[in-house]
């Protein structure tokens, strides 16, 4: 901004972002510059608390905190159950997203709102609802007893809780991708003689794969953070149902906030890494 040599009559405006030169030509953004002020504060509002937590952490204890048996149990359990929940979400959520994106039926908006409910429901309420459905005296208890199933307060219950809260993330995000990709390739495949299942396998899924991957990761990340529903429906038993968030809460309320922060930061790091990596991969896939 210092070496500007006015060579013609009128002054020219200099963009706030000029300092940075990128190799590919910069397209039009057209944002008013004052907009960066609230955007900046918004970002600070979200990011600062996480920074504050990191600052507050007693980093000398991080190793000990992370490697304690209970922490490791919680971490392993969380990873296992979140993966399982992700699979449940993919198996049930992909079909739901497809039906919502491709079909047009009466009451579709209501169904979509209902499927989105866990997004806005307090997780504790979700846990209660699951209990009333899959619990010992729940709605499905007669059926489940028939098969000798008792899943409340087992690891399976953790997976169910996580799937319940994470499902809408996958459905919403994948439905968006499906709508963006559109049906044109599917139509072509069908007129070439491909049966719907074949179209799904050879055309639709490969095309939405980047979107599906990031939707799955989003559901994984949400499952990783699930707390309220798990506590209510699955309880908190070390190695069985006490996932990271429950462990964090326990550490926090039982007098070791440092440990809680340490574990929280582990969770944050996991979530950021997973989402950034997927975003990068899927972005690259789209090129």
């Amino acid at each position: 901004m210092t070496s500007v040599q006015p060579r013609v009559a009128e002054p020219v405006v200099e963009s706030a972002l000029d300092a940075r030169r990128s190799h590919s030509p910069r397209p039009f953004s057209g944002l008013p510059r004052w907009l960066y002020v609230p955007a900046f504060f918004g970002a600070v509002f979200i990011v600062l608390p996480i920074v504050a937590m990191a600052i507050r952490m007693d980093w000398s204890r991080i190793g000990e905190v992370i490697t304690s048996t209970s922490s490791l149990d919680a971490l392993v359990l969380s990873l296992k159950t979140s993966c399982a929940a992700m699979i449940v979400c993919v198996v049930l959520g992909v079909p739901m997203a497809m039906v919502l994106a491709r079909e047009h039926f009466w009451g579709q908006e209501v169904i979509r709102s209902l499927v989105l409910l866990p997004l806005v429901l307090p997780p504790v309420v979700g846990g209660i609802a699951l209990l009333y459905t899959f619990g010992r005296h729940g709605l499905l208890a007669p059926v489940m007893n028939l098969f000798g199933l008792n899943i409340a307060f087992s690891t399976a219950a953790v997976v169910l809780s996580q799937s319940f809260v994470a499902m809408p993330f996958l459905v919403v995000s994948l439905e968006g991708t499906l709508r963006t990709v559109g049906q044109r390739y599917e139509v072509v495949a069908a007129t070439l003689g491909a049966r719907p299942s074949t179209v799904l396998r050879t055309v639709t899924l490969p095309l939405v794969m980047p979107g599906l991957a990031s939707a799955a990761v989003l559901s994984f990340a949400r499952a990783l953070g699930e707390f309220g529903a798990t506590l209510t429906f699955a309880g908190s038993l070390q190695g069985v149902t006490r996932t990271m968030p429950l462990e964090i809460n326990l550490q926090n309320t039982s007098g070791d906030p440092d440990a809680a922060i340490g574990l929280s930061l582990v969770l944050v790091a996991l979530a950021v890494i997973v989402t950034v990596v997927t975003a990068t991969i899927s972005e690259r896939g789209q090129r």
């Binding site: 044109r184 069908a190 007129t191 070439l192 003689g193 074949t198 179209v199 050879t202």
Partner: protein, 356 residues
């Protein structure tokens, strides 16, 4: 009768019917929004009309008349669709794109690759077999899409403005490929270009506001247009005969010399047709020697003013109605009137010759 369809799509004000013979090629013309793509969607099975019935080669495609609800899904119809965009599957190589139809039709992967190769050769893009679709130009991609559609061995091929998105310089190549591969194949071609209609199809239907405004053999529709739309786009002169060294010979005293892009396609003595525009016709009252190689004696049947110009319709005594567009002044100076015999002269450069 090989294809018979009638269908109603109330929401789009579409209500049209079409019959076509085995191996016949029909061109569909019409304004934007006339319902051309709607017709193709209904046939391909990607749009379900409110009512109607369609039968292709004795197989029912759908029957939605009078409360019936019989419906054959797209993949069981054997009808392939080639649209303005090539829509090659971006995650597959060119070869795998073309092999897609054979594969899903049950061919082994070797058979499918062989068939893909054959069709890639046929449309002249074999050299790109290992490329990804995004590495092709528009014209190449469109040819691969054509190969893909043909490799699926459809009973009926639908083409929705296959050349609309192409560069002016690329379109002629595809047109030539299409001419060759559509031979003896049932096809419906939506186009805005009358030349495509003439070169690629034997029959024309004109859609207007979702209804068939006109329908019939290409020549008949072009020479006796019933609607204003057809009249404006039509008006081409057409003479059929057999090919003989650069000319279409109709009879000993009617032969038309012309100009054709790919001489290889024209075979001596094979049937051929010559097409030229009325504005390319010069009228003379006496026969003179000029570079206008075609001189046809005709009797004026009718003079129709069209704005500034006058369209002269005349009879060539060989069953052709040939038109010429001339100025008012010419009509006055040359003293043209119905019944007078004059000479139509047309430069060979203005005449397209193609095999039929």
């Amino acid at each position: 009768m090989s294809l018979s369809v009638h269908a109603v799509v109330a929401q789009r004000h579409f209500e049209a019917a079409l019959d076509m013979d085995e191996g016949e090629r029909v061109a569909v013309l019409g304004h934007n929004g006339a319902g051309k793509s709607t017709l193709l969607s209904i046939l391909a099975g990607t749009l379900r009309p409110d009512s109607g019935r369609a039968v292709l080669n004795d197989e029912l495609l759908f029957d939605l008349d009078a409360g019936r609800r019989r419906w054959r899904p797209p993949h069981e119809r054997g009808i392939a669709l080639l649209a303005q965009d090539a829509l090659l599957f971006p995650h597959l190589s060119v070869r795998d794109n073309v092999a897609f139809g054979p594969r899903v039709g049950g061919a082994s992967s070797r058979q499918a690759a062989q068939r893909a190769q054959r069709w890639l050769d046929e449309v002249g893009v074999a050299e790109f077999a290992d490329r990804r679709p995004h590495e092709l130009s528009g014209g190449q991609a469109q040819r691969v899409a054509l190969a893909r559609a043909l490799a699926a061995e459809p009973k009926l091929l639908l083409l929705d403005e296959p050349m609309a998105a192409l560069d002016v310089s690329v379109a002629p190549i595809l047109r030539r490929v299409l001419r060759r591969v559509l031979e003896n194949r049932s096809a419906i071609i939506v186009t805005h270009d009358l030349l495509d209609a003439v070169l690629l199809a034997q029959r024309i239907i004109v859609l207007q506001d979702g209804r068939v405004a006109e329908s019939g053999p290409t020549e008949q529709v072009l020479q006796h247009p019933k609607t204003r739309f057809t009249a404006r786009i039509a008006g081409l002169n057409l003479v059929r005969g057999s090919y003989r060294s650069g000319c279409v010979v109709h009879s000993a005293d009617l032969w038309i010399e012309g100009n054709h892009q790919a001489a290889a396609e024209l075979v001596e003595s094979a049937p051929a047709a010559a097409v030229f525009s009325p504005s390319a016709v010069t009228i003379a009252v006496e026969d003179v020697h000029s570079s206008a190689r075609n001189r046809i004696a005709v009797t004026i049947a009718e003079l129709e003013p069209t704005g500034q110009m006058v369209r002269v319709r005349a009879d060539d005594h060989h069953g052709h109605h040939l038109s010429a567009d001339v100025t008012m002044r010419s009509v006055a100076e040359l003293d043209l009137y119905p019944g007078r015999t004059v000479i139509y002269s047309v430069k060979a450069a203005s005449v397209s010759i193609y095999p039929v």
